[in-house]
Each structure stands twice: as structure tokens, then as C-alpha cells.
Amino acid sequence: MATPVSIIKEILKTETDPENIAALNKLNGYTYIIFDYVSTRMLTYSADAKATSLAYRLVDENYLRFYQDISAAAEISAVLEEAGFDNAEVEAFIRTDYNTCLTSEGIASFNAAAGSINQFVNVLLQQNPVLESEPALRRHLQPLYKMLLDEAESKIIKFEDYGQLRDAVENFRRNFQDLPQSLIDIFAGRYDYSKIYVGYKYLNEASSQIAGGYNWKLLENALEDFYSKPYLVNGKMPVKYKTVVNKK
């Protein structure tokens, strides 16, 4: 792989302008400054299905959210129309022009519109409890992810004084305070466990939680063993065999 050092050496071999040579030599020993820049961009323009890749963000993440939001908005609009409520704002949101959501500005404007609809529906539900039986109205439009290397996001920001720090923490606390309690109810509930997942990247974190930290490979090892067993049928254990194992 070409590194900044090797690239500079390569250029120096053929460069004749003394000014350019002096400038390049100044970087000697400080190439880490541009290394981050290069490695960030290699990740950004990679074709891998990784969260750092532009293609993944645009196609796998944001397009799906876009599609789901538009479908949800169409359902919401239909319900509102049938119930005789104003659906103009929701109708205006329904579009097919995903190409407008490729830039930071486009994403910000889509997210603002989606947020406005969520708020509109929330208020409507509060004022008209009869609508609560409509599942479509309980669908929450999800904001699109921000664009990678978004300037607003990559800017180095810091607190200028203690007052700013206090305000920021208090603001976060206000926004966050109801959530932990609602999570207690969520994690006390029962669900369709074929539709609750542990992300592959978080298998070790989940193992530590279950096994108390000392067996952080619990799940990964269990999966490896399981999928390497020769007696599996289509990657699953036959029902008969499973019963025998469970009875032991």
C-alpha cells in the first residue's frame, strides 16, 4: 500500500523544482499529518459494507431509511385523509427524489421535514386519543444519518467556559431523563426473540454482560462451535437432536 512517506519519496525522485523539493522535505518526519487524511479517505471511498464507507452510508443505510420513511408517511397520510384530518404537510413530504438527500444540506432538510411530521402526528394523537388505535400513526419517521466527513460534524468544538459545559450537560440530562425509566419497562418485557438481535461487533460486550466479564468470548465461541458441527441440517440443529441435548 502506498503510504504518504513512499508517495513523497516517489515524487522526490522526479521533482526538479527546488521550491517543491524544499516544501516536500519539510514534511519529513511529519507525514502523520497527511496520513490521517489519506487513511480516512481510503475508508470513506471503500466498497466494503462498513459504516465508514460512503457507498454503505448512501445505499445500505440512508436509502433504506428514506424508503421506510416515505412508506410510513404514505400510510400516515392515508389514515389522516380517511379520518378527515389535514394531511397536506405529510403529502408534501412524500417524494421519490432520493438524489436530493445525498448532500449534508439535503439530509438536514429531509430530517427537519421528518421531525416536523413526527411532531405534528404526536400533537394530533394527544388531541385526538381516538386515533391511537391506528398503528400507522405510531410509526416514527427516522432521521437520515449525517453525511460522512460532514464539515459541521468534523469541526473541533470545545467549551469556552464552565457555564457552557454546565448548560450542555444540563440540556442533555433534560432530554435524556425520561429514557432510562422507559428502558426498564422495555428490558422487563417479553418479545419475539427471533426478531431481537445482538450485533456481530457486540458479541463480546454481550458475553461480558451475561457471564460477568470473565468469559467475554462466550457467544462467539458458542456460535463457532455450533456452526462447525457436522450434524447440522441447513445450518440448524435437527429438532430431534436438540431435544436430546436439552434433556441431558
Partner: protein
């Protein structure tokens, strides 16, 4: 084994086959501990510049929220997966609320380590 995420059902099957005796649903039970730590830390936060106890109270609070944020991430799943709406309706919302938390945590830590902790090296923020 290269799936992006495994369902509880799949994980339990694998655990049962290995006879580890562990139950994947035990994971849910761990939240109560994180919540207890959070509730205690939340009740103790106070602001006083250059005050060691105040710094510790902020750190405890942010660490407790961080633990919840890490816990929530365990359940993150790509949008294409068929999800239990009742569960993910709240959990995805929580993940969204916590998305910028890392930034806040780092900003607070940077401010305090630069401006407050000079000789108080025993307090690792």
C-alpha cells in the same frame, strides 16, 4: 459465521448446543444494574468549578450514561432485518438520543482535564 447480527433465538440455540447453561435473555436483566448506577449518579450531579467532588459527580454521571449507551449498542441491527417493533421502537429511539453523547463526553473531559485537573492526577477522567 459472518452475519452482521444474530437473533436471540439463534444465539440461544448455539448456547444450548454447547451446554453452557447460559441464557441469552439474561442480557435483559443486566439493564437493571446499569439503571441503578445511573439513578444514583443522576441524583448526585452538582456544578462547582474547580471542585474535586463536583468533577467526580459529573464523571460518575457521564460514565453511567456511557454504560447505558454501550448496552443499547449491543442490540443495534441493520435496517433490513425483521425487527420486533415494540422493542426496537424504544431502543432505536434511545440510540438516536445517545448518538451525540460521545461528543459531549469528550468535550466535558477535555475541558476538565485542561482547566481543572492539574495536580489531581488520581482522578482519571
Amino acid at each position: 459465521m459472518n452475519q452482521l447480527a444474530y437473533s436471540f433465538t439463534e444465539l440461544q440455540e448455539a448456547l444450548d448446543a454447547g451446554e453452557s447453561g447460559s441464557s441469552i435473555t439474561d442480557l435483559f436483566g443486566k439493564y437493571a444494574e446499569l439503571h441503578a448506577a445511573y439513578a444514583a449518579a443522576d441524583g448526585n450531579v452538582f456544578y462547582k468549578e474547580y471542585d474535586r467532588k463536583s468533577i467526580a459527580s459529573l464523571k460518575n454521571y457521564l460514565d453511567a450514561v456511557n454504560a447505558i449507551a454501550r448496552f443499547i449498542k449491543i442490540f443495534a441491527v441493520p435496517e433490513v432485518y425483521a425487527k420486533d417493533e415494540g422493542f426496537y421502537g424504544i431502543v432505536d429511539g434511545a440510540a438516536d438520543k445517545l448518538r451525540d453523547f460521545d461528543l459531549l463526553y469528550n468535550m466535558v473531559r477535555n475541558y476538565i482535564t485542561k482547566n481543572h485537573i492539574k495536580e489531581q492526577s488520581s482522578l482519571n477522567f
